[in-house]
Amino acid sequence: MNSVIETKKLCRFFGSDETRVNALQDVSLTIEEGEFTAIIGPSGSGKTTLLHLIGGLDNPDSGIIELSGVNIADMSGAELSDFRRDHIGFIFQSYNLIPVLSAAENIEYIMLLQGVPAGERAKQVREMLHMVGLDDLGDRRPAQLSGGQQQRVAVARAMASKPDIILADEPTANLDSKTGISLLEVMRGLNQTQNMTFIFSTHDEKIMDRATRLIHLHDGKIERNERKQA
């Protein structure tokens, strides 16, 4: 398998001198294409910081982050913006759809940023809605959808840009157990059928159960890194 993410001696600290917090210390890891990875650990262990760095939302103080062979650690804000648009999909804990756009328009928005032609966008939106089981709900605004349905739209939005990886931060935290499982099945299905790489930051055991790899973080360091059969 090809590695899509490789970090080497990644360090990130906040504050200075006495208030300095080492959020990440010498984190080196490799994530292969098609992996369904969960980063787990207690609060303050550095999960979010690691996802920020992998997603190009923040720059490390030292170390290297290579996504699909490209070092993003030294990219400028504008370069990172383009890189995120074309290579990374995000799923957020509280869905974060644009409230004034319909479900279909939310999915279309990212393709619009990529400059995909209108006809192609419409076709892909239909496919994405079908993929997440929301064929008939494309015209609804987020407020007219349940939490689970909104998160499915968020998954479709993350998929729409055809990214190399999808980063998901506690995607099931706001969902009830049944809806959470249903959403996870959708994501696992996409992972298996389309070989899409997923990285989760989570406390949810349902995700841990389905993950093919668990990365345990503690005090900014990788404590354990285990591959398992889901």
Binding site: L51, F92, I98
Partner: protein, 406 residues
């Protein structure tokens, strides 16, 4: 297209705020239209007060007469000038006049001033002497008639029918001449310098008093269109401005009025700047509130790849729509108020501005410019005011904005 749709819908996420901001901008535009309408209306009244009261919209004299009203500088062959004026289709009315400094004495007192000899019929077409009569009657053509201002009557302590002796110097010879008149009417123009210092007698009597035969000092002109007073291409101006005579529009013989008009333009500019400054602050405040409310959303938008340029564009589109909606309603309001006050006038009471008496209602004046230029300025200003919040939104750091989640 989706960005435009997004910007439009964003406006209605907080309808109350949008309505309040639109109200602020719309009212500013309406206030500016009304202010400009008032200024234009006031300018019309001022010009009208000066040109229609006595001076006329244009005047023809011997060159140099106006400088010190030298009675010897008269128009020797007025008939040939009348012929030229008659050929100019832009002229509505004209009236010949004789003017000379004189002394006016009653049985009790004497004052100095200016005696006007006027053609009682023609004069009604160019000035408001007849309208200004507050006691007695206007000139009928009788030999001994004299009209004096009410304040002058008080100074001379005379009533209607009382005698007044006018003493003046004959033209060319400078011989002193005297004539007895009876007060037939008293007038009140408003400005005291007019009412205290001027008397009107019949033209032929004035010519006789000053030994001028049929010669005159001045021809006051009124045009069919007031704006023609400034049109230098008219036959009147082209033919009569030679070395001997001069034909002047009101801007030439009342330069102070021109300066005053320039000042009124600044009034609109200053009022506009104050109104727009307030509106701009409102726009900046509203846009910032809107951005702060959506800071997390902007973080998400940037995280998924929206570029700073696209964020700026989105916020500017929102400001553009805000400006368009505001201008639409502001222009309607401005038109409504402007039309109402153009018809009914704004009660101003009686006041004197630079020697011009404004009395009664001030009728506003609507102009097409007010509904084209002003809304464009407002929209440009609204978009410009939104630039700072837009740049702020574009600079939002996604990792900071997303701190509560990813």
């Amino acid at each position: 297209m989706l960005t435009i749709k997004l910007a439009w819908r964003n406006l209605f996420r907080n309808t109350r705020r949008t309505v309040l901001t639109c109200t602020l901008i719309g009212f500013s535009l309406a206030a500016l239209i009304l202010t400009d309408g008032m200024v234009l209306g006031m300018v019309d009244v001022m010009i009208g007060s000066i040109t229609h009261t006595l001076a006329g919209e244009a005047q023809i004299h011997r060159k140099g007469f106006l400088e010190n009203l030298d009675v010897d500088l008269y128009l020797k062959e007025p008939d040939s000038i009348f012929d030229i004026i008659d050929q100019d289709s832009a002229v509505a009315e004209y009236a010949p006049r004789v003017m000379a400094g004189g002394m006016f004495a009653s049985s009790y007192n004497a004052v100095g001033g200016l005696v006007y000899g006027v053609d009682s019929v023609r004069e009604t077409g160019v000035s408001k002497i007849k309208d200004a009569i507050v006691q007695g009657k206007y000139l009928s053509g009788d030999d001994r008639e004299i009209l004096i201002g009410k304040p002058m009557a008080e100074l001379l302590e005379v009533e209607l029918g009382d005698r007044i002796v006018v003493t003046a110097a004959e033209v060319d010879s400078g011989e002193i001449a005297q004539e007895l008149f009876r007060v037939t009417g008293m007038f009140e123009f408003g400005p005291r310098e007019l009412d205290e210092n001027i008397v009107f007698i019949n033209l032929d009597k004035a010519q006789q008093l000053l030994a001028m035969e049929r010669k005159i000092h001045q021809i006051a002109v009124r045009f069919k269109r007031a704006a023609d007073a400034k049109n230098r291409e008219l036959t009147l101006y082209q033919s009569l401005n030679d070395g001997k005579t001069e034909a002047l529009g009101w801007l030439d013989f009342e330069p102070s009025l021109g300066a005053m008009l320039e000042m009124t333009n600044y009034t609109t500019l200053i009022a506009g700047m104050i109104l727009f400054l307030l509106a701009s602050l409102g726009v900046v405040n509203s846009m910032f509130m809107s951005i702060y409310e959506r800071i997390y959303e902007f973080g998400v938008a940037k995280a998924i790849g929206t570029t700073p340029r696209q964020i700026i564009l989105l916020v500017l589109y929102e400001a553009l729509f805000l400006g368009l909606i505001s201008c639409f309603f502001g222009a309607i309001l401005g038109f409504g108020l402007g039309s109402y006050y153009a018809e009914n006038g704004i009660p101003m009471g009686r006041m004197e501005v630079s020697g011009v008496v404004l009395d009664g209602n001030m009728n506003t004046k609507l102009a097409l410019d007010q509904f084209i230029k002003f809304p464009i300025y407002v929209i440009l200003l609204t978009v410009t005011a939104a630039l700072y919040p837009a740049i702020f939104a574009a600079r939002i750091v996604p990792s900071t904005a997303l701190q509560r989640s990813l």
